[in-house]
Amino acid sequence: MQPAKYWRDNKSWKNWIGKRGTVVVSTVVTVPPSAQNTFQPYSYAIVSFGGERYEFMGVGHELLIEGDQVECCLRKTSVSEDHEIIGYGIKVRKVT
């Protein structure tokens, strides 16, 4: 991830962390793009926040299904080499 892009993106984290929504539909990615290589399998879902929909990865290998109540949190959203900055971003996890 490029530093300038990371810096633009991190401004939006505070708008998401802690926000809760409902999974509309979800799949499990087993063949990821290189930026998410080694994260597989991970859930990828459309989540409704009071009617507005957004797409997020699920945390870790957590399985998400339609109807799950989820909460936004800060996690690594891409893998990085030792010389790169760490790609943090927003993912969703099940609310327990």
Binding site: V31, P32, E55
Partner: protein, 369 residues
């Protein structure tokens, strides 16, 4: 619209290790000129379709590279719209002809995808999604979400999805240019590697190299296929921004435009090359194009109503699934294939449907005698 197809050509599609991107362009250009019995100098302008040469091999400025395949360096432009690049290049050419600026132009699309690993291809193709709001998405994942939604709404079955792949592989057997010349069974599709549930490996179109070219003209000619009309529509790039997850609105709008533009009615259409990047994509398409009602696309496919002898032949070339999907070439290949199909007398009126991304861009062309 008074545009004729003077000639067309398609290279073989597949893992073409000996072929470079430019050699694919060159082959398609030369073969199309031969088919049309034209000289290079007859081409007044060239419209190039390619999605991702910049990513695959850091090659940009394709318009100039293709132009230099002609001794006279015709003006040329590259058009990109993800997997709809080919049909968007067609529209650019059509508008140039309709403006009166040119009388005879060439559209050529090509993609060279197999030099990199499949993971790199997954990464490159994922650039057709909204990379800021669809982080971590892949095209199988996005179409898997559409599949799951369709399954939930209409009880579309695993078998019905598999039937799309089986049919298109079967159709590909009679297409000498197709990537695959091998029948597959419902069971093979169902048991293939899980990519993004519920989509499996054999639900997905392959990674392919290939090129296709068509020569379009407003010159009056007899006995040639005519482009009767076209339509183009857009929608939200991200799935989250769509009004429906069980149909592609852009396809519906583009179809309505094309029908109106051409004056053709839906039931006159006898064949269609549609965008089956994934099996679910074909089911969505045949419903959105209005050939079958919502939820009926799966049963129609399983009941063989979309093959030869059925209501309408869908993807007689083998489609993206059976013929292959060199991304930039596909939209042009659809036109090239249907040109030959119509000239052979296999259909009088046919349709080409090409989609960009998960449905943000859709183009429909109607061709006929």
């Amino acid at each position: 619209m008074n545009i004729h197809i003077l000639g067309s050509a398609t290279t073989s599609f597949g893992e073409l290790w000996e072929r470079s991107l430019m050699s694919l362009f060159a082959e398609a250009v030369e073969a199309a000129l031969n088919d049309a019995k034209l000289e290079p100098a007859d081409i007044e302008a060239a419209f190039i379709a390619n999605k991702a040469a910049g990513s695959y091999e850091n090659q940009h400025h394709l318009n100039a590279l293709v132009s230099q395949l002609f001794p006279h360096f015709p003006p040329s432009v590259r058009v990109e719209g993800a997997c709809a690049s080919g049909s968007l290049a067609m529209i650019a050419a059509e508008l140039a002809l309709l403006s009166g600026r040119y009388k005879t132009v060439m559209v050529v699309g090509a993609e060279k995808m197999t030099d990199v690993s499949s993971q790199e291809t997954t990464t490159i193709l994922s650039g057709a999604a909204d990379t800021s709001t669809e982080v971590g998405s892949t095209f199988p994942a996005l179409y898997a979400l559409l599949a799951k939604s369709h399954i939930k709404s209409y009880h579309t079955t695993r078998e019905q999805l598999s039937a799309v792949a089986v049919k298109n592989h079967h159709h590909a057997l009679s297409n000498p240019r197709a990537q695959f010349h091998k029948e597959i069974s419902l069971e093979q599709v169902t048991k293939s590697q899980l990519i993004s549930d519920p989509l499996r490996l054999l639900d997905c179109s392959p990674v392919s190299d290939g090129a296709a070219a068509v020569i379009l003209s407003t010159q009056p000619v007899k006995g040639k296929t005519k482009l009767l009309g076209f339509g183009q529509a857009q929608d939200s790039v991200s799935l989250a921004g769509r009004s429906s997850l069980t149909s592609l609105r852009a396809t519906k709008v583009a179809m309505d435009q094309a029908l109106k533009d051409s004056g053709v009615s839906r039931d006159q259409l006898q064949a269609a090359e549609i965008h089956d990047c994934f099996t679910i994509a074909e089911i969505l398409a045949i419903e959105d194009l209005g050939f079958f009602g919502p939820g009926e696309g799966g049963p129609a496919t399983l009941e063989q109503r979309t093959t030869i002898g059925g209501k309408i032949v869908i993807n007689p070339s083998g489609g993206l699934k059976g013929c292959g999907h060199p991304v930039g070439a596909t939209g042009v290949k659809q036109i090239a294939f249907l040109n030959d199909y119509i000239l052979r007398g296999d259909a009088n009126v046919a349709l080409a449907h090409n989609v960009g991304g998960s449905g943000a861009t859709a183009v429909v062309h109607i061709l006929g005698k």
